[in-house]
């Protein structure tokens, strides 16, 4: 009897795996692409990173049920599903990035460095080096995302602990502070030495400012520059109904991608980018009315997207498995909106923007959809109804694309074959 039960269980598992393979783990993909559910319910998986051996590390927003917050996943038998899953660390956070045998991970305050051995197993799980410490984290936009350039510099997002730098955050009628004092220690990207221990603010450099919050960022090896995705501001209509209707507020401001160079200013909190006027518009907290322009010294976006979709990961595709069109282009994981309510939510997909010679060479498009698990073209009305929310991206050594999700705790593997 017990044997029969075991056989039935194995059969069920086998069938569900093959079903998952048949229906691409529930994802809708362009022709020729396939997806598998690489891992499931590992915890609130934020960013992911992959070693040259194909070992994946995921950073969890909170420790999972086993109390671990960095998860190591390996697919030893190469069937597209992780078969060896272990973990360590007990601090929540978003950022994780591997370079050779150096594995960087972040809490909301610090950046840590772990060492991997030849098998990409962590050598010092309990005693990482502290690379940066004491970064500001005040609940809102507290997570620290990281990436590295070719010279071992680590770029850290320090999000603004505010919506629009009002004297009183998110209070109707409260004016914007001038100048915005938050920008001294947050609301930008800071650059630190990736090898030096115990750095604090003074050891780093404010590389770019005027960014409300960045979660997705990547170093583009073709342009040799940093690209980031900003999370645009919220609640224009809640605070300024005289200038913005529900419908306008749902569409404003654009979610924006920027190419950043040393010293750049993106303009938050003084301006936001309007995707219809295609202009930097003065924030109402600073005297704007939805039409007045501002931000003369602020840079323009490289690409802009519809509002509030929450871009949580950015990845420039350097592999050769995908068709030529994808080479050097940008994948963006849109976590999905919440503040378009009462209108239907948007995002909950992975988008793609083609690039040529370091510049966008075409319109953005949806690459992978269906993460919400809703049937057909049904839109997410309430965020908790979305089964999965794309949050992290990583490229495998074979050129496959991995997408992590912090709602259900899954990792999808997307591959292409002719």
């Amino acid at each position: 009897m017990k044997q029969l039960k075991n056989i039935l269980l194995l059969l069920t598992i086998a069938v569900s795996f093959s079903l998952s393979a048949q229906n691409n783990a529930g994802l809708k993909l362009p022709e020729g692409f396939k997806a598998t559910l690489f891992a499931d319910t590992i915890g609130s998986a934020r960013h992911i990173t992959i070693t040259s051996n194909g070992v994946i590390f995921a950073k969890l927003m909170y420790p999972n049920k086993a109390g671990k917050s960095i998860i190591r996943l390996e697919d030893a038998n190469m069937d597209g599903v992780a078969d060896k899953i272990t973990g360590w660390a007990n601090y929540g956070g978003t950022g994780i990035y591997v370079k050779g045998k150096d594995l960087y991970a972040t809490s909301d305050n610090d950046v840590y460095l772990y060492q991997l051995n030849e098998k990409d197993e962590v050598i010092n799980p309990l005693s990482p080096k502290t690379i940066v410490k004491g970064l500001i984290a005040k609940n809102q936009h507290a997570s620290k995302s990281i990436t590295l350039d070719g010279q071992n510099n680590v770029y850290v997002n320090i999000g603004a602990y505010s919506n629009a730098c009002q004297e009183k955050d998110r209070i109707k009628g409260s004016k914007g502070m001038m100048p915005c004092p938050i920008l001294d220690s947050a609301g930008g990207i800071w650059k630190f030495d990736g090898k030096k221990e115990n750095q604090v603010y003074g050891d780093g450099k404010r590389y770019a400012t005027g960014l409300r919050n960045v979660v997705g960022l990547d170093w583009n090896t073709k342009t040799n520059s940093l690209f980031v995705m900003q999370h645009g501001r919220d609640q224009l209509n809640s605070f300024y109904p005289e200038y913005y209707s529900d419908a306008q507020s749902a569409e404003l401001p654009a979610e924006t991608m920027y190419e950043l160079h040393d010293g750049d200013n993106v303009g938050w909190p003084y301006v936001y980018f309007d995707p219809y006027q295609k202009k930097k518009i003065l924030s109402p907290e600073y005297g704007g009315d939805g039409k007045k322009e501002g931000g003369e010294n602020a840079i323009n976006p490289t690409v802009f997207f519809p509002a509030h979709m929450a871009p949580n990961a950015l990845l420039f595709y350097t592999g050769s498995q995908f068709p030529e069109k994808y080479k050097n282009g940008a994948f963006i994981a849109f976590h999905g909106s919440w503040n378009r309510a009462p209108l239907p939510q948007e995002g909950y997909f992975v988008a793609f923007v083609p690039f040529k010679n370091g510049k966008p060479s075409g319109e953005w498009e949806i690459f992978a959809n269906g993460f919400s698990g809703l049937s057909g073209d049904e839109k997410v009305m309430n965020p908790r109804k979305a089964k999965s929310r794309p949050c992290g991206l990583a490229q495998g050594p074979d050129g496959s694309l991995y997408v992590s999700d912090d709602a259900r705790g899954s990792i999808f593997k997307i591959s292409y074959s002719k």
Partner: protein, 132 residues
């Protein structure tokens, strides 16, 4: 006859009270839609990791009315642990809301979706604000 009249009067009074209450809930819903819905969502489900849910929330249906009244009035800016999850977005204060408005919107959220807690009276809100 007098007895019948009394019964009639009582039914009439109770009926009026029910109507008034229903109107309060309508007002509460209206307030919810203009002030609360964008963050707490139409289904009261909130936003994972950001905005706390109201539907099924042990705080919302709980007995600490004073705390609920104060959060609506003064907002909330700490990370909150609720029913095993954390939420970190700022709750906007509503200093301009009248006591009756607070009673109405609280009554609405405590009796909507899967919530089946008691409605909140004006007297409860006044008592809560006196406590401090």
């Amino acid at each position: 006859m007098i007895g019948k009249c009394l019964v009639f009067l009582m039914v009439f009074l109770l009926g009026t009270k029910a109507i008034v209450n229903a109107q309060d809930l309508v007002k509460g819903k209206k307030l919810y839609e203009t002030r609360c819905l964008v963050c707490h969502q139409a289904d009261g489900g909130g936003v994972p990791n950001m905005n706390a849910p109201l539907d099924g929330s042990s705080n919302v249906v709980g007995n600490n009315i004073a705390r609920l009244v104060r959060i609506i009035k003064n907002g909330y800016s700490e990370k909150i642990a609720l029913d095993g999850y954390y939420y970190n977005n700022v709750m906007t204060p509503n200093p301009d809301l009248k006591e009756a408005d607070i009673a109405n919107v609280l009554s609405y959220v405590r009796t909507s979706w899967s919530n089946k807690a008691s409605k909140i009276t004006l007297a409860q809100v006044q008592a809560a604000l006196k406590k401090k």
